[in-house]
């Protein structure tokens, strides 16, 4: 079955005084992979569980392909759900776990065998059909959970931190696999995670959530390159944050000066609402250029001394001592900057479009 469209509108959920979900609306295209990204308590899991029917929202509507599902119990919604820690049935073996939704649908045993074998192949677990769940590794359990949620070919797959319990290398591998399987089934995915790298790698669109609200909705590129608030900029990817006083506006840019170095004038994109005196300047570590000679520019140019050089494999992270305070720069292993060593005096600069100003508390 191809993926279905999901429409969430005006969703609210409170637990006593705590507002878990605050007026969340989200339209998801058929076959789209949308991630709800946020810290714990941001409302992402509550939103997901409301779609699954396992949490009852206080108000709002949820519809799938135009059909209101809010009044349906979870077993009637027909959505695939992959839970955190998998929630596999410990008393059943791999085959019976995956066959469970088909037995609930009263399929004939022959059809069940065929469907389970097919999905076992998709998740590369053909040999594990009669294993007990406790005899599987974390990654294998994750695959069983995925197979169980997909075997009845639901139009929508809901995933709650499915890779949270796994180590880094396994997560990378399974990420790729989830993406491949999603394409193969054409299923619409709503994916919940607190891991921004995971969100960036997997999603067609990301909804960054905080305090029960969606702060920004956009493609991974948009979220990373044009965060709309300081929170999003700080949460997705690394960034240098410098508190600055605001000066004159020039086109889309604004002149600013750091509190720690008032004499130094910097230029950055203005994302504040205007009326402020102070803002936070954010610059991505990889956007900053380093050079031994004074470069041919005066914009956002300053002198720095290298304090620390950390080799991270594909890249090198420098910690610099600058008039603005400590600044992080990340450079490719093979670039010219790789030769710089702690103690070197250098020049750094960045394009005004790479620096963005945000209200301080956002």
């Amino acid at each position: 079955m191809p993926g279905a469209a999901v429409e969430i509108a005006g969703l609210n959920k409170r637990y006593g005084e705590f507002v878990a979900v605050d007026d969340v609306s989200l339209s998801i295209e058929p076959g789209e992979f949308v991630t709800l990204l946020g810290l714990s308590g941001s409302g992402k899991t509550t939103t997901l569980m409301a779609v699954a029917g396992l949490t009852e929202p206080d108000s709002g509507t949820i519809s799938i392909d135009g059909r209101d599902i809010l009044s349906l119990p979870p077993e009637k919604r027909g959505l695939g759900v992959v839970f955190q820690n998998y929630a596999l049935f410990p008393h059943l073996d791999v085959f019976d776990n995956i066959a469970f939704p088909l037995r609930m649908r009263k399929w004939a045993e022959a059809d069940i065998s065929k469907a389970v074998e097919r999905v076992l192949k998709v998740v590369s677990l053909e040999q594990f059909s009669d294993r007990r769940i406790s005899a599987l590794s974390g990654g294998q359990q994750q695959r069983v959970a995925l197979a169980r949620a997909l075997v009845f070919e639901p139009p929508v797959l809901l995933m709650d931190e499915p890779l949270g319990a796994l180590d880094r290398s396994l997560r990378d591998q399974l990420q790729t696999e989830i993406k491949r399987i999603q394409r193969e089934f054409g299923v619409t995915v709503i994916y919940v995670t607190h891991d921004q790298e995971e969100a960036l790698a997997l999603s067609d669109r990301i909804a960054v959530m905080a305090n029960g609200k969606i702060c920004q909705l956009g493609s991974p590129d948009e979220i990373y390159e044009r965060p709309n608030t300081g929170f999003v900029a700080g949460f997705v990817g690394d960034s240098n944050r410098i508190t600055v006083s605001l000066g004159a506006t020039e086109d889309r840019f604004r002149r600013v000066s750091a509190r720690t170095a008032p004499e130094l004038e910097l230029l950055a994109l203005d994302r504040t609402d205007g009326a402020l005196e102070q803002a936070v300047l954010m610059v991505r570590p990889e956007a900053i250029e380093m050079s031994g000679e004074r470069p041919d520019t005066d914009v956002n140019l300053l002198q720095a001394r290298i304090e620390l050089r950390e080799f991270l494999g594909a890249s090198i992270r420098f910690t610099l001592d600058t008039p603005l305070g400590p600044i992080h720069v990340r450079k490719g292993r093979s670039g010219p900057a790789a030769a710089f060593k702690p103690g070197n005096d250098i020049w750094i600069s960045w394009s005004p479009t790479e620096g963005a100003l945000f209200p301080p508390a956002s």
Binding site: A52, G53, L54, P73, P74, E75, R77, G78, L79, G80, V81, F83, Q84, N85, A87, L88, F89, P90, H91, F100, P101, M104, R105, R148, A149, F152
Partner: protein, 258 residues
């Protein structure tokens, strides 16, 4: 070398403890074969006379029947009730749950004689004394904690999301309970049932109060047997009781191991 020595000492000590615990129990076996008319140790001769007596005298074979019926009914009632209680306790907030659990565990901590004395008056008034229902109810009070503890232990380790998972996969609440919750709890329920059975089967204090001429259990019959007859029948009965307990425990162990 000291390692091997100390491990030898430890083995010897453990063996000594086992002998100390088991030997008195095993001593009833030879006594039950004695040819004398009174309990004597060491036994003299060898006869199965006392076993035949046991199965031929109605007060003995009858009490075994009563015990079996009471124990089975107690196991059934306390397993059902105890499982329901454990499931209910699991829904409570942690702190309240713990307090209420303690309340249900009380009969295990309170000296049995107090429970017996407390039960006697209301049971007498309700006409439950000297009846099988009375014995079953009284024994259920004693057996409930074992079921609650065994089922709660599994419930605590259970990931509650499995029920949500079952629902999302198409199971109604009832189906999810029957197909997922119950099978997961099964080992705890079986363990509880076995403990409940044994608790009732060899219980004597409460039974002394509640049992009467119409409903005498085997332990009560043995108690009067040893007071009034000192007959080796008591030893034969002990052996039978021991065998029943061993068989039940072995069956249980075999089931759990699967």
């Amino acid at each position: 070398m000291t390692g091997r020595l100390s491990s030898a000492v430890l083995t010897a000590f453990a063996a000594a403890v086992c002998v100390f615990l088991v030997l008195p129990t095993l001593a009833v076996a030879p006594i039950s074969f004695t040819e004398t008319n009174f309990i004597t140790f060491p036994p003299r001769g060898f006869t199965l006379h006392w076993y035949r007596e046991f199965f031929e005298r109605p007060e003995w074979i009858g009490s075994l029947g009563t015990s079996a019926v009471v124990a089975v009914l107690t196991a059934a009632l306390s397993t059902t009730l105890g499982t329901m209680i454990a499931l209910g306790l699991g829904q409570l907030p942690r702190r309240t749950g713990r307090a209420v659990t303690f309340f249900f565990i009380m009969p295990m901590v309170v000296p049995t004689i107090i429970t017996a004395a407390a039960l006697y008056t209301p049971f007498a008034r309700a006409g439950l004394v000297a009846s099988i229902p009375g014995l079953v109810l009284a024994h259920t009070v004693l057996a409930l904690p074992f079921v609650i503890i065994n089922v709660s232990a599994i419930l605590q380790k259970l990931d509650r999301r499995v029920v949500d998972a079952a629902r999302s996969l198409g199971a109604t609440p009832t189906t999810a309970f029957v197909r997922v919750t119950l099978p997961i709890l099964a080992p705890g329920i079986t363990a509880g049932a076995v403990f409940a059975f044994i608790t009732s089967f060899d219980e004597v204090v409460v039974a002394l109060f509640i049992a009467g001429a119409d409903a005498t259990t085997l332990p009560v019959q043995m108690w009067s047997g040893i007071r009034f007859e000192i007959s080796p029948i008591v030893a034969a009965a002990s052996c039978l009781l021991l065998i029943v307990s061993c068989v039940v425990l072995t069956l249980f162990w075999l089931v759990q191991r699967r």
